[in-house]
């Protein structure tokens, strides 16, 4: 670790619903340009963890810092203004607008022109909107109604929208869910390429292990709300605790009681 604060620093994040500890004391960090995968079986606390990072949900305790600045307790839109772009597990786009207009709205917001009543939105920063669409390979679709797009294209559009505020960090919740195998590889390759070029940190959750092991620089593994492993794809793959969690219930109990065995 260098002296400068990491891009994203998560410390002791905890959240419980009623008596259930959804997330318990999760800590990790993320460097600029790094691609970090957050994995774990269903119910491990991935979504809860993710929602606390993007402001959808408030942690009971713990901190999230972006370049040293606290984001805990901030609203999603405030976190976005700090330079965090995001995509959703189920795409959220503006269905009655064209593809270009979807990006333009994000650019309007980024340029703080939301309350501009007299400008021309159809001509708003067309150049940048075009560049972003080209970047994700959607240049030819700019004038198509967003509601007509295929699902994979919607995912790419979301990526373009997420990049509109020149983010330092991208949060992607199951970016390849619902896509064909070929599209998954393409989308993640594209994301990785953009992240490295622009030195953007990427945190994503994912169920497809092929995607995870191929594209993540580092992987963190959640089980029952606690972080059980962290490391390079190779390290995580060979980690006995992770294997236990993913392969056998019988080893699970043991794994939990050997907490701290791996880092």
């Amino acid at each position: 670790m260098s002296v400068a604060p990491p891009l994203l620093a998560v410390e002791g994040l905890t959240k419980s619903y009623g008596g259930i500890h959804a997330v318990r004391g999760v800590s990790f960090s993320l460097r600029a340009g790094e691609i970090l995968a957050l994995i774990g079986p269903n119910g491990a606390g991935k979504s809860t963890c993710f929602d606390m990072l993007n402001g959808q949900n408030k942690p009971d305790s713990g901190h999230v810092r972006l370049l040293g600045e606290e984001t805990t307790g901030k609203r999603p839109r405030e976190i976005w203004r700090m330079g965090v772009g995001r995509t959703f597990q189920i795409t959220a786009t503006f269905a009655t607008m064209t593809v270009r207009e979807n990006v333009q709205v994000a650019l309007i917001s980024h340029g703080k022109q939301l309350f501009n009543l007299f400008g021309s939105a159809p001509n708003f920063d067309r150049g940048e909107a075009g560049r972003l669409l080209e970047l994700v390979g959607m240049g030819g679709y700019a004038d198509r109604p967003c509601g007509e797009l295929a699902y994979g294209d919607l995912k790419r559009l979301e990526l373009a929208v997420a990049l509109a505020n020149e983010p330092k960090l991208l949060l992607m919740d199951e970016p390849t869910a619902g896509m064909a195998p070929r599209e998954r590889v393409d989308l993640m390759r594209l994301t990785a390429q953009i992240a490295r070029e622009k030195s953007i940190g990427v945190l994503f959750t994912e169920h497809d292990m092929d995607v995870v092991f191929e594209h993540a620089d580092r992987i963190i593994v959640l089980n029952r709300g606690t972080l059980i492993a962290e490391g390079s794809p190779a390290e995580v793959r060979s980690n006995p605790q992770v294997q236990a969690v993913y392969l056998g219930e019988g080893l699970l109990y043991e794994a939990e009681h050997r907490e701290g065995a791996s880092t």
Partner: protein
């Protein structure tokens, strides 16, 4: 003390009917997701039929039999309505359903007068409950005591029906997830029909049971439906227990409100409703609404600004409209001015409803506030007309700023109901605060100054302002703000994720729409030379909704065309027939069922079909400035 007890009991007795009607509305909404505006009409028909039957059939059996028979007959009418009309629009946006059932209400109002005449009808007393009981020197009608007992009994029966019967289980399941129930092989059609029949039966029973207490008249539908809306919103849509508690609460507020705040008794109930909605937006016993249906969702035609050719055509239309005084008489010019004013009103609602996805059911409040603003400024402060026209709409602006702030905290049906409630509050103030507003007599003698007094001059003024307002709002639609507003309509989740403060955007849109409506109201006051509480009443609010829908809710220019066609038709109808409501209601139902895309939407579709090969830029969008002719 005894007096207060009696007042309390009177309140409880009133609650019985209110509960019956409200529970019916709630059950129907729970399963079909239709907010049945016609529920008040069914209540009224129930009362009328019961009146006729009790006149014919004698004796105790005759009376009570008539009540039940009347309710059954109306339930049968309900089944017909459900099968013929509602089945066609279950998948339409909820706004269309509200409108279709409102159209029905209009038709029923005229039909009832046609059959039973316009006079109040005083029904018989109930056999066995004719007298009154003495309570420490105060009289309590024994029929009231019967009703007080009846309320909880019906609640109990409904509870048994829903908990203990197979049908009840299906209804409860459908309330939670009707698609799942359909997937399990339940015949959804008949489930919906039976639920509608039960709901309508309850409404009609409520109406029939009122005849020993109240005269039957042809305006009782609107009065009860507003109260019922309040009840189900306070209690929570879909909750029967909620309907009961809220019916008691509202009735008691009415009973004691008159004693404690005689001046603002009407407002009190609406204030309580506003507070409940803000604290618990889904009502006291309701559950938060499941993810809202995709707004409008009929087409995904992206909007675009006019091409230069279309601009020229619009300008030409405006110029032609401006030549009207050269060949038309004074009456035509007055009609033209009124149409121009309604164009302003319609485009202001369009901005909120089509662009922002917020369908206000009380938009007339801001129109009327603008009109009252003029009346105050011109009559009381004696300011010159130009100054009045500039300042008058500010009253609409202020009203929209206050009410809009609360209203945008909600969405969908609840937004519609809250705006309706706010409009009723404003209406009540105008109606009850006689010393300032003149109450029902209004404020008379608000005439324009000499330069604008002649029909042609006033027409040009109205036309000019309408053109300016339409252009300004059109610019706003295609401004960054307009895009942000559409963004909040399309996806709140995505808007928030790209830094848009949706509530503030929507609030701003509400204020813009309210102020613009106020401009229309200001001109209207000068056109009519007077201001009345009707200028902010429900029927005017619904006029605005119909104008927007008629033109096409998902088009940019629909509101203008809708206003012209609707207003012209309306004025012509009123001059031609005594049954204008019947025709108008039928017309509204027809639009919803046959032309859900509206006039402009239809034209767009036809144009697209015809020139599928040519670029989309040439599609036939209607002219925005064709504001009066």
């Amino acid at each position: 003390m005894a007096f207060y007890v009696v007042q309390f009991l009177t309140g409880l007795a009133s609650a019985a009917s209110l509960f019956l009607v409200a529970s019916g509305l709630s059950i129907i909404f729970g399963v079909t997701r239709i907010v049945n505006f016609a529920h008040g009409a069914f209540y009224m028909i129930g009362a009328y039929i019961a009146f006729t039957l009790t006149e014919r059939l004698s004796g105790a059996f005759g009376f009570w039999g008539s009540i039940v028979l009347a309710a059954l007959a109306v339930a049968l009418i309900g089944v017909l309505v459900e099968m013929v009309l509602l089945r066609r629009i279950y998948h339409a946006p909820e706004l269309f359903q509200l409108l279709a059932t409102f159209g029905l209400t209009l038709m029923v109002e005229d039909l009832v007068v046609l059959i039973w005449g316009p006079d109040d009808l005083v029904g018989r007393r109930a056999p066995g409950f004719k007298g009154a009981i003495d309570f420490f020197g105060q009289n309590i009608p024994s029929y009231d005591l019967f009703l007080i007992v009846l309320g909880p009994v019906v609640l109990g029966i409904l509870w048994l029906l829903f908990q203990r019967t197979r049908w009840g289980v299906l209804v409860r399941a459908a309330t939670q997830d009707r698609d799942m129930v359909a997937a399990l092989g339940v015949n959804q059609k008949w489930l919906f029909t039976s639920v509608f029949a039960v709901g309508v039966f309850l409404a009609a029973l409520g109406g029939a049971l009122q005849i020993p207490r109240d005269a039957v008249h042809h305006a009782m539908d609107l009065r009860i439906i507003v109260e019922v809306f309040v009840v189900v919103v306070i209690g929570g849509l879909g909750s029967i227990v909620g309907a009961f508690v809220a019916a008691v609460l509202v009735s008691e507020l009415n009973a004691f409100g008159i004693l404690i705040f005689p001046k603002i008794s009407i407002i009190l109930v609406f204030l309580v409703m506003a507070v409940v909605l803000i604290v618990r937006p889904w009502g006291l016993f309701g559950k938060p609404e499941a993810a809202a249906r995709k707004t409008p969702g009929l087409t995904v035609n992206p909007w675009r600004p006019l091409t230069s050719n279309e601009r020229l055509a619009s300008l030409a239309a405006l110029v032609i409209a401006a030549t009207l005084p050269l060949f038309a008489g004074n009456y035509a010019l007055t009609v033209g001015s009124e149409i121009a004013i309604f164009v302003i009103f319609a485009v202001s609602l369009h901005f909120l409803m089509s662009v922002g996805g917020l369908a206000s059911f009380g938009h007339a409040a801001y129109f009327g506030l603008g009109a009252y603003g003029i009346a105050f400024l011109a009559k009381m402060a004696g300011l010159p007309m130009i100054v009045c026209l500039l300042l008058g709409p500010l009253l609409g602006c202020m009203g929209a700023a206050v009410f809009g702030f609360f209203a945008v905290q909600l969405s969908g049906v609840y937004f519609a109901m809250l705006t309706l409630a706010f409009a009723q509050i404003v209406w009540s103030i105008a109606f009850q605060w006689v010393s300032v507003t003149g109450g029902d007599n209004g404020i008379l003698g608000v005439w324009p100054e000499k330069w604008a007094a002649s029909p042609s001059h006033f027409y040009w003024l109205a036309l000019g302002v309408a053109a300016l307002v339409t252009i300004a709002l059109r610019i706003a639609v295609f401004s960054p703000f307009g895009y942000a507003l559409r963004a909040t309509r399309d996806s709140l989740l995505r808007s928030e994720a790209i830094g848009i403060n949706a509530k503030r955007i929507q609030w701003t849109a509400f204020v813009i729409a309210g102020t613009t409506a106020g401009i229309g109201g200001a001109l209207f006051a000068y056109l009519k030379g007077s201001v009345f509480p009707d200028n902010l009443g429900i029927s005017l609010s619904v006029d605005a909704l119909v104008m927007v829908l008629l033109g096409g809710v998902e088009t940019v220019s629909g509101a203008v065309i809708g206003a012209i066609v609707y207003k012209a038709l309306n004025i012509w109808l009123v001059s031609q027939t005594d049954l204008s409501k019947l025709v108008l209601g039928g017309f509204i139902v027809l639009i919803v069922v046959v032309f859900p895309k509206g006039i402009v939407g239809m034209l767009e579709m036809l144009a697209q079909r015809r020139r599928k090969s040519s670029p989309p830029g040439s599609s036939l969008l209607a002219k925005p400035i064709e504001s009066a002719e």
